[in-house]
Symmetry: C2
Subunit: 462 residues, 2 copies
């Protein structure tokens, strides 16, 4: 099938090639997953770099003209480039860092010792994003080998997506030339269902902070001091309770500035997703009753901002009771942003709210605060979206859906603007993958689907 | 100074004897402190028993006619008895169990390897209650040796004061004959200041529970699920916030039933304590602004109930951010009771309140709940209190104060009633002792004062 002139591959050929190389792909993917590249934890800085270096070597091996580390203010960025013969210039964004792994005791097997069980590979990052990134790379590898990658392609794989994207974000101005492209592909999103490949039309933005109440010199005896000392745990609970009103609406002043109304066209595409409350309850254990009352679940997720408590810790954490007033209490908070909400302003507004509602007697400290990125909205009328839909319809028998995801890939909006590119977000994640949770995994079936989508789409571009 | 007939010891003789035996006392006290008798943690059950057995051996050695373990539904009770020649029958209550030790990393030296530094002995239990219990025993030992312990004396030293007192509480009916006495002495309280020995006139009662919000199958991605799933951390914070109103008053229905008004006589004795807000702030790091607005601090501590959060834990607890909706959240709660508040009813009312305010979608689970005991109030007009005041005035040059402490010794009220005895609570604890916190310690100076009080008081009784 090798050919010195431009060629393209059809679905049958791609499927056959995948099955031939299946074992090799899995072995390499496993090796990639052994790096504990947890970007949120500075103790893993060296692991992140080793992972990035492994990736550079791998990209050279599979046929990129150049591959290297670009140093940033944060973790190194993996950059790779391959010249093309014709067609639109494609850039690709992904990340090699992963989420923390605690609570470690809930993992069936160690998070960085990948295990294949019943058609799924288990490891931290198995899906998010190492797995999805890897099916894309394997598709590119096959196209290069078969002389079927005709378009110019450049990769930007960062190491801080799970903690802030600070390195790549600050490097964007100096990357403008390298980034310049027509399509920005991202494979870091989910499918609505296993048989319904999904184009993600929107992502939420994100800001984050840690709030601590302190001032007490030590844990106090709750009898001697109960009614005297202000209780940091109680006061922090009260402070958290002020963030929303009784209807679930965010109570931070001016927070909804920039939130846009859902259009009829949005609602029509959104309906392709068929959000099912019963299925949600079965998968998650609880009904979808979070967020604002009176707004449909899929709209709440895709078109409304949130403020979520990701962690709250204070005082005794052992068996039985311990009669103390804890010396301090802290909470980790993230807010998801939509539409044109300004991330910097939104963060400032939350901090201002916390300060205004801080309890008497204790000291409020804000730390670990920052801006991930703004929300992102794709252009429903674009020809790139239409081309992707055609490929996905071919793969699924016309079952493509359009979705506004609640998650964030902080830097996507900024990268697309700097690249001058049309973003295209298609991914194969499923709820059962347990990303950000213990026992993350990715099914070989979804890995193969992702490979086929990426291969077919790239092959059709020229 | 030995004498075959009844004798009494004066302050000079007691002081001299203490200084002669100082080293021996400290060595024995250190040995007592090496047992990790943490009653709240079942992993230390065997340590509790070994500690109790050590105590029995020690009591036999220092001259009690009999000493033994009484098995209970919980930890074994240490019982000892010495027949008397004359005077009122005295019983003594103390506890050999200690608080948990976490956070362990804040201890300067290991909690069960006692260290003497700058006149203080550092260890978990150094003061509460092993230290205070031990100066009483050493005073008794000296009186026995000098033939100066004339009154009948029985000891009841339990092993669950820090977790529930369930064993001794349930054993009370079967102990009635052994308990029968005229005065019930307890050395498990504090002094207002180092130069102001203190008679504790009241203690608060206590009930406890753990409340958990659950139902979500795993930690969820806060982007994919923010606005869909109810957030257990946020919801538990809101639930905790409903426990008090904006003025710090407890918002649980009917909770104040049984709370008694402070009388003018109470206020007069209370004023001997001179609660100093400036000193409090210096010692504790924060002003005494907890509890109900519009009530003086010493009255809030001694005469008003509280509901305190002793622990609140949910979600991520590492560096940086982790974008999850935690699968669950829990809080450990204790309430202090005053006057005639019924403990069982009070606990039921809190649980009912939590259930009534529980969030939609999540499951509220109440566990580890129980009743410590009711509040205790001493009789200000009693001759026992007058006799104690005379001894304390002799020791301090007339600086005795009367205090209503905020703490609880759950079983004291029940024991006094069953014994038919007048309770007498005098103790030498100070804020700087860090009881219930890392780096607990007790000064040798306070140990000696406690020894002198116990020796002088017992010696004067006949």
């Amino acid at each position: 099938m090798e050919n010195p002139v431009m060629s393209s591959l059809n679905l049958a050929a791609l499927t056959e090639t995948f099955r031939e190389h299946r074992e090799q792909f899995i072995n390499e993917w496993r090796e990639f997953l052994t790096f504990p590249s947890i970007s949120a934890d500075p103790r893993h800085d060296a692991d992140c770099r080793r992972c990035a270096e492994w990736l550079v070597k791998h990209l050279k091996k599979i046929g990129f003209d150049e591959a290297s580390l670009i140093e940033t203010e944060g973790k190194p960025l993996v950059y790779a480039k391959r010249a093309g013969k014709a067609g639109p210039r494609v850039s690709f964004y992904g990340h090699y860092d992963v989420q923390p792994v605690d609570p470690l005791n809930l993992w069936g097997t160690p998070p960085f010792e990948p295990q294949l069980r019943e058609g799924r590979l288990y490891a931290r990052g198995a899906q998010d994003n190492k797995g999805q990134l890897f099916y894309f790379l394997k598709a590119v590898e096959v196209l290069i080998k078969k002389n079927a990658l005709n378009v110019p392609l450049s990769l930007f794989i960062e190491g801080e997506e799970e903690s802030s994207s600070i390195g790549i974000t600050r490097a964007i101005p100096s990357l403008r030339e390298k980034l310049s492209s027509d399509i920005l592909m991202v494979c870091d999103t989910g499918t609505e269902r296993v048989d319904a490949p999904t184009v993600t039309m929107g992502l939420r933005g994100i800001v984050f902070l840690t709030a601590t109440l302190k001032g007490i010199t030590k844990d106090l005896h709750s009898g001697h001091h109960g009614g005297l000392a202000p209780n940091p745990a109680t006061e922090l609970a009260r402070l958290v309770a002020t963030l929303h009103d009784g209807t679930g609406k965010i109570a931070v002043a001016d927070f909804y500035e920039g939130v846009q109304a859902v259009t009829d066209a949005d609602r029509k595409l959104l309906a392709t997703g068929h959000f099912d409350e019963k299925v949600y309850r079965e998968q998650i254990g609880v009904p979808p009753v979070g967020g604002e009352k009176g707004i449909a679940p899929a709209e709440r997720r895709g078109f409304r901002p949130t403020i979520e408590i990701n962690g709250f810790h204070s005082g005794y954490d052992g068996p039985g009771s311990k009669t103390i007033i804890p010396a301090s209490a802290y909470t980790k908070i993230t807010a998801r942003l939509v539409g044109k909400q300004d991330p910097k302003l939104s963060l400032e507004r939350i901090i201002k709210h916390l300060e205004a509602h801080a309890p008497k007697g204790l000291t409020l400290e804000i730390s670990e605060s920052g801006v991930g990125g703004p929300a992102f909205l794709a252009n429903a009328g674009s020809p790139v979206i239409a081309k992707a839909k055609a490929v996905l319809d071919e793969l699924s028998g016309g079952k493509t859906v359009f979705s506004w995801e609640g998650g964030s890939i902080p830097v996507v909006a900024s990268l697309a603007i700097a690249a001058g590119a049309e973003p295209l977000l298609v991914g194969y994640g499923l709820e059962e993958d347990n990303i950000h949770a213990p026992n993350e995994s990715f099914s070989l079936q979804q890995f193969e689907q992702g490979f086929l989508y990426a291969g077919l789409f790239l092959s059709r571009l020229a």
